[in-house]
């Protein structure tokens, strides 16, 4: 120590109580001349006892020990902080030629300085008392006592250090022992010093069996070989490590100089275990490896979880693959289905339109539509479905707008227009649907022109039948004016032949009468023509009262000749309906002639016929126009009531009726959006009631 300290320029890091004591000795009068100098004192605490003392003595002080390095003559640093991290920093940063005495070694410096100070004092005193042996003896005695005191102090200190070490050792053991991580420690002789409970539990080997032996391999390996802790203690070369661990090991990223590896140990536990193990060196104060600590981590569960996860992942992948295959299959089916529908669409016998659900723009049409509407596809795709409608049927739009998702609706007898403006009748079925993710409507139209025409022919034929049935009455009607005219003429002719003078008055009367009767005949003919004419294409607003009166103009006389009273109760404020006048008249005709027949049948059945009345009413019922035709005839028996609107159903005798009147009437009524119902009390009163929607107001 004497050699170290002599001629040294010393810096002290850690300006505490020890620093001050050392400085007091070094700067004291006894040590002057020892060629010791103090370069400076550093402490992070500006008020530290030693630092303040040094500053008072004019010694350089600093808060940053690195300032001390600036002194070129510095050759010794004494570390008195007691802080290992500071010690490590000093080791790393100090200039290479400067010697470092740590706080452990400083103890010796302190002892040396104390002894040296005493020795110097005694030596000086001996010089004074050279001629007094008793004095020398007592001085030596004093020195011995002093030395003994230092040794005693040192011993005491060592004992306390040792005690502390034992305490620390115990604490460490407790830490290791109490740790839940399986841990064991070996010393540099490869003897196991610690084997904690967790390690016992994991390996199944008790600490008593292992501690103090070098059988640390026993739980892990089938035969003796170095394990990771041994590898660390032996500071093996990498090549050698590879002999034992292959490529399954690596340097720890967390702990310096530690190695880690993961392996499956089939002998541990029932089914073997995966262990992740880390071994780190235990170093002495001088940095020498004095042992190794190895921790073990049972990763079996994690592994299993991982494997389970992997399996799940694999499973998932398999399922995804499966689903993908399914999807592919479905797509294929969809494609085939689409092809099928495409084929159906293209080869359907009826025109099919796919249109936008909002503005009815035509999106697609089939070939049949092109043929039927005589349009090219390009033309049709620039149109809306409404463009195809005949002007009066444009109200279809309202119906189409009301369609909700997946709803279908049937629109009978609408008129569509072919290219060039030729109208034709169609039944339309429109369905709401999603097409390629779009809100759309699919409409199928059926050309019913032929059946409408046939129906028209049938209506016409039945009208002619009605006319035929009424021909006797009509002939009578026409015969009346003809008779008057003829008689007037015969009168004039007779007078002329007989050479008699015709009075002015008589002549005027004849002329006047003839003229009036011609008008009357012409009127009847007009009515007949109107009735017999084929219906126009378009419906018109008709005043039903006028139509009813027109019918009575023709049949009224006939009814009165049969002593049938006609009671009319017509609401003059009734709104018009949309219909064809002559078809509507045909319905009234049929009802009136049926009523007449019913009254006559009752007359034939009973001697006393009672009232012979047909009453016709027109009135408004809610938002509809209603007409009733009642008669006091024979009535309709219950079983027949349901069938009277069937075609060819008749209760009349063979040759008297075809059984088409009511069937055609109900067809006609329905064509105008109307309803027809019958109520009948046999033998008392029968009422047919028709209702129609009012014609829309302009």
């Amino acid at each position: 120590m004497k050699e170290i300290l002599e001629n040294s320029n010393i810096a002290i890091v850690g300006g505490g109580r020890v620093c001050k004591a050392i400085l007091e000795i070094i700067l004291g009068e006894n040590l002057i001349g020892q060629r010791l100098s103090i370069a400076g004192v550093a402490d992070i605490n500006d008020e530290a006892e030693g630092l303040v003392y040094a500053r008072d003595k004019g010694i350089f002080t600093t808060l940053d020990y690195r300032d001390l390095y600036k002194d070129k003559k510095l050759n010794l640093i004494i570390e008195l902080t007691g802080d290992n991290s500071v010690l490590e920093e000093l080791k790393a940063t100090k200039p290479a030629e400067v010697r470092l005495i740590d706080h452990f070694e400083a103890m010796s410096v302190w002892d040396f300085l104390q002894i040296e100070e005493e020795r110097v004092r005694i030596k000086r005193d001996l010089g004074k008392h050279l001629r007094k042996p008793e004095k020398i003896e007592s001085e030596f005695e004093l020195f011995s006592q002093q030395l003994a005191k230092i040794v005693e102090e040192r011993t005491r200190h060592l004992q306390s250090v040792e005690r502390e070490l034992v305490e620390r050792e115990r604490a460490l053991s407790q830490i290791i022992q109490g740790n839940t991580i399986p841990t064991f420690v070996i010393n540099k002789d490869h003897l196991v010093t610690h084997w904690n409970r967790a390690c016992e539990r994991l390996t199944g080997y008790r600490a008593e069996e292992i501690v103090g032996t070098n059988k640390q391999w026993l739980p892990f390996r089938p035969k003796e070989r170095p394990i990771m802790a041994d590898v660390i203690v032996d500071a093996m070369e990498e090549d050698e490590i590879r002999r034992y661990y292959g490529d399954r090991w690596r340097k720890s990223a967390l702990i310096e100089d530690a190695y880690e590896a993961e392996e499956f140990f089939p002998h541990i536990g029932e089914k073997g275990k995966w262990l992740f193990f880390t071994a780190a060196p235990i170093r002495g104060a001088d940095g020498e490896t004095v042992g190794s600590i190895e921790t073990l981590w049972d990763t079996t569960e994690r592994r299993e979880a991982q494997e389970a996860l992997q399996r799940a992942r694999d499973d998932l992948e398999a399922r995804v693959e499966e689903r993908t295959a399914e999807l592919r299959k479905l797509n294929e089916e969809l494609r085939r289905s689409e092809e099928k529908y495409k084929t159906l669409f293209d080869s359907a016998p009826n025109p099919i339109f796919i249109m936008d659900g909002q503005d009815f723009t035509i999106i697609d049409v089939n070939a049949t539509a092109l043929d039927c509407y005589r349009q090219s596809k390009e033309e049709l795709l620039t149109m809306t479905f409404l463009d195809l409608l005949y002007e009066e049927d444009k109200d279809l739009e309202k119906g189409l707008r009301k369609l909700t998702e997946h709803q279908c609706s049937f629109y009978p007898r609408r008129r569509h227009i072919k290219k060039g403006g030729e109208p034709f009748y169609v039944n339309i079925v429109a369905c709401h649907a999603m097409h390629m993710g779009m809100d759309c409507l699919i409409a199928t139209t059926t050309d019913i022109t032929e059946s409408v025409e046939k129906e028209a022919k049938l209506i016409q034929a039945s009208k002619m039948t009605t006319l035929g049935e009424m021909s006797a009455g009509i002939a009578h009607e026409l015969n009346q004016p003809l008779n008057t005219i003829k008689m007037g003429n015969e009168f004039l002719k007779m007078m002329i032949e007989k050479g008699k003078k015709i009075s002015e008055q008589d002549l005027f009367q004849v002329v006047d009468e003839v003229s009036g009767e011609v008008d009357r005949a012409a009127e009847i003919i007009t009515r007949l023509r109107e009735f017999g004419r084929k219906a126009d294409f378009t419906k018109e607003k008709i005043d039903i009262n006028r139509s009813i009166r027109g019918v009575l103009d023709i049949v009224g006389k006939q009814l009165s000749l049969q002593n049938i009273d006609v009671e009319l109760d017509l609401d003059e404020a009734i709104p018009p309906i949309l219909a064809h006048n002559n078809r509507f008249q045909q319905v009234i005709f049929n009802l009136v002639t049926n009523a007449r027949d019913a009254i006559n049948q009752k007359h034939e059945a009973e001697a006393e016929s009672g009232n012979r009345v047909i009453s016709i009413r027109s009135f408004r019922e809610d938002d509809r126009v209603a007409i009733t035709v009642s008669d006091t005839g024979i009535g309709i028996p219950e079983p027949a009531r349901d069938r009277i609107f069937e075609a060819f159903f008749t209760t009349k005798e063979m040759g008297e009726g075809m059984g088409l009147g009511l069937s055609i009437s109900s067809e006609i009524v329905r064509d105008y959006g109307g309803d027809i119902h019958v109520q009948s009390e046999e033998g008392s009163i029968t009422t047919f009631k028709l209702t129609f929607p009012c014609a829309p107001e302009e």
Partner: protein, 241 residues
């Protein structure tokens, strides 16, 4: 000339009847319906009544019945619609004098009125008389007066006599003023069908236009050919024989 009552529901027709019949010289009474007509008839007792058949309320046939019930000697001429032979036959059954079709031709009216006048002039309930005469091999049966159901025996008797003479060819000659009722027609048809079985050939003549139509309609013309003139009827039989 006497009174004549016209019943028709057509006012213009009545007005024309007034002019026309007035020009004939009749005192024309008119009624717009059956019951009004009967009232007038009861009050005025016109010997001749013209009535329309088709009328609201009481129709012409009822009027005819009522009038015949009040006075069977009244000459009732019914006015029928064009071609309405059913009504005509029904009227004849009810002993109508004649029927006239509408529109009324002056010729028909003339003859109907003339027959009525003739019948009024001759004895009121003139017994039917059938006389037979022979011309070569043809037996001519002259039928006077009206043929009704009452004429059956007379006709059968005449037929018997003709058959006794083993006549194969018979001409039935009706008087222009004769009226033949539905029952009379039935008797005729019966006799004629029997004649056919006996291979007797029959021709008919002397019918008014109206009765010619009726005979054609009821099918008598299938048993016996109808001729306007007697000579033509005789000639047809002799030539065929």
């Amino acid at each position: 000339m006497g009174k004549i009552l016209v019943i028709d529901d057509e006012k213009p027709t009545l007005r024309m009847f007034r002019l026309l019949l007035g020009a004939y010289g009749y005192n024309v009474l008119t009624a717009e319906n059956g019951s009004a007509g009967l009232e007038i008839f009861k009050k005025e007792k016109p010997p001749i009544v013209l009535t329309d058949i088709k009328m609201p309320g009481m129709d012409g046939l009822e009027v005819l019945q009522e009038i015949k019930g009040i006075d069977p000697d009244t000459e009732v001429i019914v006015i029928t619609g064009h071609g309405d032979m059913d009504s005509a036959v029904k009227a004849l059954d009810l002993n109508a004098t004649d029927f006239i079709n509408k529109p009324i031709q002056r010729f028909d009216l003339d003859s109907a009125l003339r027959r009525a006048e003739e019948r009024l002039k001759s004895a009121k309930d003139q017994v039917n008389e059938i006389s037979l005469r022979k011309l070569n091999d043809v037996i001519i049966m002259d039928i006077e007066g009206n043929v009704t159901s009452l004429s059956e025996l007379l006709l059968m008797d005449a037929y018997e006599k003709a058959s006794e003479r083993s006549a194969a060819k018979i001409v039935m000659r009706f008087n222009e003023h004769s009226s033949i009722s539905g029952a009379g027609i039935a008797v005729l048809i019966q006799l004629l069908s029997e004649s056919k079985k006996r291979d007797q050939v029959v021709a008919i003549t002397g019918l008014s236009e109206n009765f010619k139509k009726i005979f054609e309609m009821v099918g008598i013309s299938r048993f016996a050919e109808i001729f306007d003139h007697e000579e033509d009827a005789i000639n047809s039989l002799t030539q065929s024989g």
